[in-house]
Amino acid sequence: MARDGGVSCLRMSEMMNVGGIESAPLDLDEVHVLAVDDSLVDRIVIERLLRITSCKVTAVDSGWRALEFLGLDNEKASAEFDRLKVDLIITDYCMPGMTGYELLKKIKESSNFREVPVVIMSSENVLTRIDRCLEEGAQDFLLKPVKLADVKRLRNHLTKDVKLSNGNKRKLPDDSDSVNSSLPPPSPPLTISPESSPPLTISTESSDSSPQLSPVEMFSTSPLSTPIDDDDVLTTSPESSPEDSPIRRQKMRSPGLD
């Protein structure tokens, strides 16, 4: 794997000996963040900032890879839905190829991910830029260098909304080994179809603060975990997620991301 390429989370694990982190007790409020930054140093830092605030992180080095990860890069992608839910996307603004702003637009244009909060990071405090991003639907704008307090703030914001929503699990149609979490929510029905596996987009009434945040889905951080069976899922609420939920990320691994 090229050092600068693709998903950096694996490399970071190798580099950092994150054995301690990987085997840490499952945080029941764990969120999955997709971080996008063309700078390796910044990717490592943001990844660490997020992990330290109990987020699972997938870090990619470009807008294209982000779209690829989300399955938005081509129409065919929706046919093979096995995608990990993403609770937050945090992206650098200034990137070669596709800027963070362009990525933001593409995300907001997609039916599957428009509800996912997108945070823009930039080293430049340009008001017009900030306004443009917020107008396009960005949740927040962070000035680089990003600090722990910034990420904690984001994290708290996410958790608060997550706790207020119902814990509806997402159905993964291709997930024959793992749970098909088809627990229907009491309030607005989840539109999960076999062709698409959207992130949990519980509508506004489940959360009275931000309508745009999707509820948290828990997954184990251990790659050795075994899939849970259907019974577990149907009786599980978000507050008691089984420790051994499948690592859906593993299924997501495609050579293209490396």
């Binding site: 994150v18 140093v41 660490r48 080293s123 260098p145 722990l148």
Partner: protein
């Protein structure tokens, strides 16, 4: 554990890191990075700065090549390199390097090749200087740990 030795080393460490902040080698962002380090990731800061120094070396080489021929300077490419360097130096708290980048960017904008070359030289000097300083700092950390002590938290404010 020899508590006197540990205390001395800790004092040395503290004085040294404070001096690095005071002399402007490091800024607050470096202390932010230190917050992200713990027993599970004791080498986090060392590894991040190591990546940063690799970045410096690589970018300096690229920019040097772009600036080489007086009649054919690709200022856009140089500017792109400076932008990256400025970003990563800012992210690790390498203040002096970052400051040179600010001047460097200016030289690019006005297409001042001589100015760019001077900045390039300066950035090279600064990152290497910082590398040495931080190596000394990390060595002190190691000595403290080996002597059975803990690394002091340092408040730079």
């Amino acid at each position: 554990m020899n508590t006197t030795v540990v205390a001395q080393l800790q004092r040395q460490f503290q004085d040294y890191i404070v001096s690095l902040y005071q002399q402007g080698f490091l800024d607050n962002q470096f202390s932010e990075l230190r917050k992200l380090q713990d027993e599970g990731t004791p080498d986090f800061v060392a590894e991040v700065v190591s990546l940063f120094f690799d970045d410096c070396s690589k970018l300096i080489n690229t920019m040097s090549a772009s600036l080489e021929r007086p009649d054919n300077v690709d200022f856009k490419q140089v500017d792109s390199g400076v932008h990256q360097l400025k970003g990563s130096s800012s992210s690790v708290g390498a203040q002096r390097v970052k400051n040179v980048c600010i001047s460097f960017k200016e030289c690019c904008h006005v297409q001042n090749r001589e100015g760019c070359l001077r900045c390039l030289q300066q950035v090279d000097y600064e990152y290497k200087m910082l590398k040495t300083k931080l190596q000394d700092l990390f060595n002190l950390e190691q000595q403290i740990l080996q002597a059975g002590g803990t690394i002091p938290q340092v408040d730079i404010n």
